[in-house]
Amino acid sequence: MDRESLKSIALKLEALDIQGTVEDVKRALNEKIAPFEVVQNGLSPGMDKIGEKYERKEYFLSELSLAAYIMKGAMELLGPRMKASRERSLGRFLVGTVKGDLHDIGKNLVSMMLTSAGFEVYDLGVDVPDEKFLQKAAEIKADFVGMSSLLTTTMPSMKSVIELLKNNGIREEVKIFVGGAVVTQSFADEIGADYYAKDAMECLRKARNSITKGK
């Protein structure tokens, strides 16, 4: 029964059961549940619960990192099969931490929440040169570009990336998200980003809303 296997995935992920989650994902695939279905109605609700527990301070970064690890294992099974049914993904989301900046814990959480919700996430890692954002966004035909910065000295790179996208004619093709501990809504407005989010949950909400609303 479909619903049961998906519910079980959500519960096992929420409980951070490493093996259990992966086994349930395998089982669901054997039951011929579509991979996208597994993400959207199994992993995603589990991850939402984990996010809530983090907000209530029942889970901490150690647990979130573990959740990311489990997600990665699950995506290794699901990813290859999802490529075939790409049209069902919520969109391609390119993320990275800007040049000179090594903080990635927050960005990784953002990636994880987006992946689990069904976005196709491309993570460029840390210390990403401006040109790399441009090149990758063009290559994958990104729908979203998310930049993270935790240093006041690296924030200006967010602006220069936006300029670069503009100058190369793809600014209007993407929705730009910015975030990180030192970034504010007013800074996002000033540099012409489309969205600012204070945390990964808000980022996910805004990304989901932006799809129904358009830009």
Binding site: A68, G100, V126, T152
Partner: protein, 349 residues
């Protein structure tokens, strides 16, 4: 009382004449106020000393902690294990969590020899240079070593290390043991070189990323071990990540001064660990100190003083290092707030 006496009195949990004001020593802040690139600060012990003295003189009422500090950023300990170091021109050097990408490499890991490995010998040279050339009234006072969680995370990768704690606990334990031993040895060797040391300083933000359960299992024993090695010295611990969930455990770790994050509520801290340990903090270094007006700085300092100050054992400071371009007026506003609202007896607000 002079500013340093005031600082030390508060550190002993006493009420000085007024609330002391302290900022963390920072290569970025010192270079900025001295008008040099951060790379130059690291490159030449003379510039390091001159930039430090210059900024200290600019703000005579502020106790820079740990004062003179042959600071090479967060790369010193990882460099001694063999991490690759990156040097930006006008920022602090960094390493990536790439040295121990392969968990198998951890089981054979040994602590480095501080006298010969990585940047450690350079730090020892610079300490000696600074104490030889500093004016008589400015002594080199503290040994500094990063704590095991920071060092482990730099070498293994921050997220990977957190995963190891659950997935490969024996590997994580081994890495923490080696890093704990490194912190202790590195402090000891510096203490041999410093003429008259008065304390140790251990920054370790990453510990707050552990859940209370994991911190109790891995953090508590490591911290107890480090701090119990240095009785008789002033022991200062810094953690500018939100540590609300491990405050009760930190209270068992035997350090005497706690520099904590603006994300950790000062009222909670004062009522708990603050009964036992001197508090140093926790004005927001970015949203208030860097970006706020002097009035906002004064207002936040006042509130911190009124919560942290009563009964003594409190040092007005930031919840983290001062940002590079912190306006001079905001630093002055902090000093002003301590004079205006920090005269003892300080009553709760």
């Amino acid at each position: 009382m002079d500013p340093l006496d005031r600082f030390l009195s508060a550190a002993r949990m006493e009420e000085p004449d007024e609330v002391p004001v302290s900022l963390l020593t920072s290569a970025r802040f010192f270079s900025h106020f001295y008008g040099i690139k951060v790379f130059q600060f690291f490159h030449d012990p003379k510039l390091m000393l001159d930039a430090s003295l210059h900024t200290m003189r600019l703000f005579p009422e502020i106790v820079f902690f740990p004062g003179l500090w042959a600071d090479y950023g967060i790369v010193v300990e990882p460099s001694a294990f063999g991490s690759r170091i990156f040097w930006p021109e006008n920022y602090v050097p960094y390493v990536r969590g790439e040295l121990l990408e392969n968990p198998e490499d951890i089981m054979g890991l040994e602590p480095p020899d501080p006298k010969t490995d990585g940047l450690m010998p350079f730090v020892l040279e610079s300490i000696q240079y600074m104490q030889k050339h500093a004016p008589k009234n400015t002594k080199y006072l503290y040994a500094v070593a990063r704590g095991p969680f920071q060092v482990a995370s730099y070498m293994r990768g921050h997220t990977e290390f957190l995963v190891d704690l659950t997935v490969r606990p024996d590997v994580a334990r081994k890495l923490i043991d080696v890093c704990t031993e490194t912190t202790i040895r590195w402090l000891r060797v510096q203490l041999e070189v410093i003429d008259n040391p008065i304390g140790i300083y251990v920054p370790d933000d990453n510990a707050s990323f552990l859940s209370p359960g994991l911190f109790e299992k891995f953090g508590l024993p490591a911290y107890k071990r480090i701090f119990s090695e240095f009785d008789g010295l002033l022991k200062v611990y810094h953690n500018d990540a939100d540590s609300t969930h491990i405050l009760d455990l930190l209270a068992q770790c035997d350090f005497q001064v706690f520099n904590f994050s603006p994300a950790t509520d000062i009222r909670t801290v004062k009522q708990g660990i603050g009964q036992k340990v001197c508090l140093m903090g926790n004005v927001d270094p970015v949203s208030v100190m860097l970006r706020g007006t002097p009035e906002k700085v004064e207002e936040d300092c006042k509130s911190c003083i009124q919560i942290g100050g009563p009964g003594g054992g409190y040092i007005l400071s930031l919840g983290g290092g001062p940002s590079m371009e912190t306006p001079k007026e905001n630093v002055e506003a902090m000093v002003r707030a301590a004079k205006r609202y920090g005269r003892y007896p300080v009553l709760g607000g």
